[in-house]
């Protein structure tokens, strides 16, 4: 009985090792897409031009079928006084900050998803429901999402929002770079609605060049920093500002892609399933020898 056990032990172990190694190549790279095309589009937000009219907020809600008061209501500037964040009811919001250079002209900053080049949300999503497309957009797929909110934990800009008050089918809500409008050849709704061209839509490469030129032409107007050019490995939306980005509540982030550390740990543990399979083999060996030793002791006694 015992020896038969041991023979089946060996047979099964071999079968498992073969099965596990046969599994590796096709599955190790499964995951959501992250296409970084040189032609990916972006938006340059020039906060020194923005007048805080909030037309973009209205246009965004209208384009995405979200509830909104009529455009006239946005002439009221009181909501600007309080810091707001994009949420499930508004995918973009405009915040107001004091202007140290000209106190009468407050600085207004439009916020939305940055459409990162190496998005933490894409790396994190358990089912690959978020993907970065060749045209620059980072979009969410309602057919996959399980509502775990790990993307919210991961996003360094605190962008994705969740419909906490829906019992069925709650969605992750974030700016989708007007995916549908752009597919129809239209501009993003906010860009189209901006009366002062604070928002420039174009290839990200061109936008960075334009931004550099603007800084060079009017060094007094801008701080020498394009936010999003290098932060967390680059974002498709970039910002220009007249004062320090810290004072405009932009998060201070490193230059490495946000998912970097986590992904290298993850891939280290799972490198082609070698570590787990070796551990399995090792434990099998320990188990076999200790059982063997035990049997011998029993036979002797």
């Amino acid at each position: 009985m015992k020896s038969q056990n041991r023979r089946s032990f060996l047979k099964t172990s071999t079968a498992i090792t073969v099965a596990a190694t046969g599994l590796t190549p096709s599955t190790a790279h499964a995951g959501p897409t992250n296409i970084l095309s040189p032609d990916r589009m972006g938006v340059l937000v020039d906060t020194t031009v923005c007048i805080g009219c909030r037309n973009c907020e209205w246009a965004c809600k209208t384009a995405h079928g979200l509830e909104t008061p009529p455009l006239d209501a946005y002439e009221d500037r009181t909501p600007l006084a309080k810091m707001r964040r994009p949420d499930e009811t508004a995918l973009t919001v405009v915040n107001q900050y004091e202007n140290p250079k000209e106190p009468d002209l407050p600085i207004t900053v439009k916020v939305q998803c940055m459409h990162c080049d190496h998005p933490a949300c894409v790396s994190a999503c358990i089912v690959g429901a978020i993907a970065k497309h060749a045209n620059g957009e980072v979009v969410w797929d309602t057919d996959k999402c399980i509502g775990c909110r790990y993307c919210m934990v991961a996003c360094p800009f605190q962008v994705p929002a969740f419909e906490y008050h829906k019992a069925l089918g709650p969605r992750i809500m974030k700016c989708d770079f007007c995916s549908e409008r752009r597919a129809d050849g239209k501009l993003p709704a906010c860009v189209e609605s901006c009366p002062v061209e604070a928002l420039t839509y174009g290839r990200r490469e061109d936008l960075v060049r334009i931004a550099k030129e603007r800084i060079k032409r009017s060094p007094d107007r801008y701080v020498e920093h394009i936010y999003g050019e290098a932060e967390v490995g680059g974002t498709s939306w970039c910002y220009l500002a007249g004062t320090d980005f810290d004072s405009l509540q932009f998060p201070k982030l490193g230059l490495n892609p946000a998912p970097g550390v986590s992904e290298s740990i993850q891939h280290g543990i799972f490198a082609y399933f070698v570590p787990p399979v070796s551990l399995y083999a090792l434990l099998g060996a320990v188990m076999w020898t200790s059982r063997h030793r035990h049997d011998e002791e029993e036979e002797q006694s």
């Binding site: 089946s8 099964t12 599955t27 190790a28 790279h29 499964a30 995951g31 959501p32 810091m83 964040r85 499930e88 933490a120 790396s123 994190a124 999503c125 358990i126 089912v127 690959g128 429901a129 996959k144 999402c145 399980i146 509502g147 775990c148 909110r149 790990y150 919210m152 934990v153 991961a154 360094p156 800009f157 605190q158 994705p160 969740f162 419909e163 906490y164 008050h165 829906k166 019992a167 709650p170 998060p251 982030l253 490193g254 946000a258 998912p259 550390v261 986590s262 992904e263 740990i265 993850q266 891939h267 543990i269 787990p276 399995y280 434990l283 099998g284 320990v286 188990m287 200790s290 059982r291």
Partner: protein, 411 residues
């Protein structure tokens, strides 16, 4: 004397005053849970767009997985290293792990917004997501635990299948099926036992990778690239204390004599394990120079020091003392400290350390969240009690006292 101990169902009544309290707590939790399913997560919890994860993840899932580590540590000791003298605690530990992981799975499915999509990770893979790895490993490991528990079920019912009335005709075939299952499992079990240990090391550590991606949102005291290693080490060191903790608790509640000779010896093994964990924890603290955050008294510094002092240093010292290894009360205290310390570490990592860049307030669990978590723990204890009354899990002195009744314990 160990020779005459054999796992068998405990003969006791299910109801007791304590059980009634637990039933009330469970009912209260389920009532709030109904609210979550009728009106959404926001109606019952204090979670919002700034704080996406709360105690349902921090306690029900993260601490739950850690505290169920007794299953794989005792399996490694009893089966892989083949230390027969520990077999008496393998089954209780297995039962705790099985119920613990079931609670984790239920905890996850009530926390995710679209619980009916819980199966998605099986088909939709994202290899770069730590959460995906945790999810898959937990799902597979839970099935493995159920398989490991099957021999206990077959042992209970072989030769005792007695269906009433018209179903009585099925008695013989079911019995044959059980016997066949039992033989198969006996031959195959080692596959699952090793798989269980491998899966555990994988997801216990990946659980520590989860918050790494949150980057600067995490307090530096807990945001470290060696977080997966720390999680694995702490899970390994909480395994035996958890077994000691629940064995003493069960012995107390059923009025049995605690198996101090086994538990004391397990306690002795805890000290070096805790020592390794402590060394890495301190090394991390000094290499990354995060000790500067401990110089001022803040919530985080208090939490960190509590976790380390009461959860690691004090029990480490206690487990080294022979007096503690012999005294049930002291052994229980030391084990409880480790259990509490590791649970606190998980809560710290997932809840306390998380500060969103644009916080409009702070997070504290709502009555609903606390009720559901407490309710789940109550249900867990009730299920454990029911299981040891039905199945041969706890080793008791064998009434037959015959040497023939000694046979190697499966599962």
């Amino acid at each position: 004397m160990n020779d005459f101990m054999r796992p068998q169902p405990v003969t006791k009544k299910f109801l007791s005053p304590g059980v009634i309290v637990l039933l009330l707590l469970a009912a209260n939790g389920l009532a709030f849970l109904a609210g979550r399913f009728l009106f959404g997560i926001g109606a019952v919890t204090n979670l919002n767009n700034q704080y996406p994860w709360g105690i349902w993840i921090g306690i029900d899932v993260a601490a739950g997985v850690a505290l169920a580590a007794g299953g794989f540590t005792t399996a490694a000791l009893g089966h892989v290293m083949h230390r027969e003298q520990y077999h008496a605690v393998v089954r209780p530990a297995l039962l705790t792990a099985m119920l613990g992981y079931t609670m984790v799975a239920v905890g996850v499915s009530i926390d995710i917004g679209r619980y009916y999509y819980i199966w998605h990770p099986l088909l939709m893979w994202n290899g770069s997501s730590a959460l995906f790895e945790v999810g898959i490993c937990v799902m597979i490991y839970m099935s493995v635990l159920y398989i490991e528990f099957l021999p206990v079920v077959t042992e209970r019912f072989i030769g005792r299948v007695d269906l009433p009335g018209a179903l009585a005709r099925l008695n013989a075939p079911i019995d044959r099926l059980l016997r066949w299952l039992d033989r198969m499992l006996d031959k195959m079990m080692f596959v699952f036992i090793i798989a269980g240990v491998v899966l555990s090391t994988l997801h216990q550590s990946s659980l520590g990778t989860l918050m790494v991606i949150a980057g600067p949102k995490m307090h530096p005291l807990w945001q470290t690239p060696i977080s997966p290693l720390l999680f694995l080490l702490s899970a390994v060191s909480v395994g035996f204390p958890m077994v000691i903790f629940e064995s003493l608790l069960a012995a107390r509640s059923f009025g049995l004599k605690p198996e101090m000779h086994i538990l004391g010896r397990m306690g002795r093994m805890v000290a070096p394990l805790l020592g390794i964990y402590l060394a890495f924890k301190l090394g991390d603290l000094f290499i990354r120079e995060t000790f500067v955050y401990l110089k001022t008294v803040t919530t985080v510094s208090v939490m960190y020091i509590t976790e380390l002092l009461f959860g690691v240093v004090i029990p480490l010292r206690m487990f080294l003392s022979p007096a503690v290894q012999k005294s049930p009360a002291l052994l229980f205290t030391a084990a409880a400290l480790v259990v509490g310390g590791v649970a606190l570490n998980r809560i710290d990592t997932f809840v306390v350390a998380y500060t969103p860049p644009y916080a409009l307030g702070s997070y504290f669990p709502s009555i609903g969240e606390i009720s559901v978590t407490v309710g789940f723990i109550a249900i867990l204890v009730l299920l454990y009690r029911a299981a040891v009354l039905i199945f041969p899990v706890i080793s008791l002195p064998d009434r037959a006292l015959s040497p023939q009744s000694k046979y190697s314990v499966r599962g």
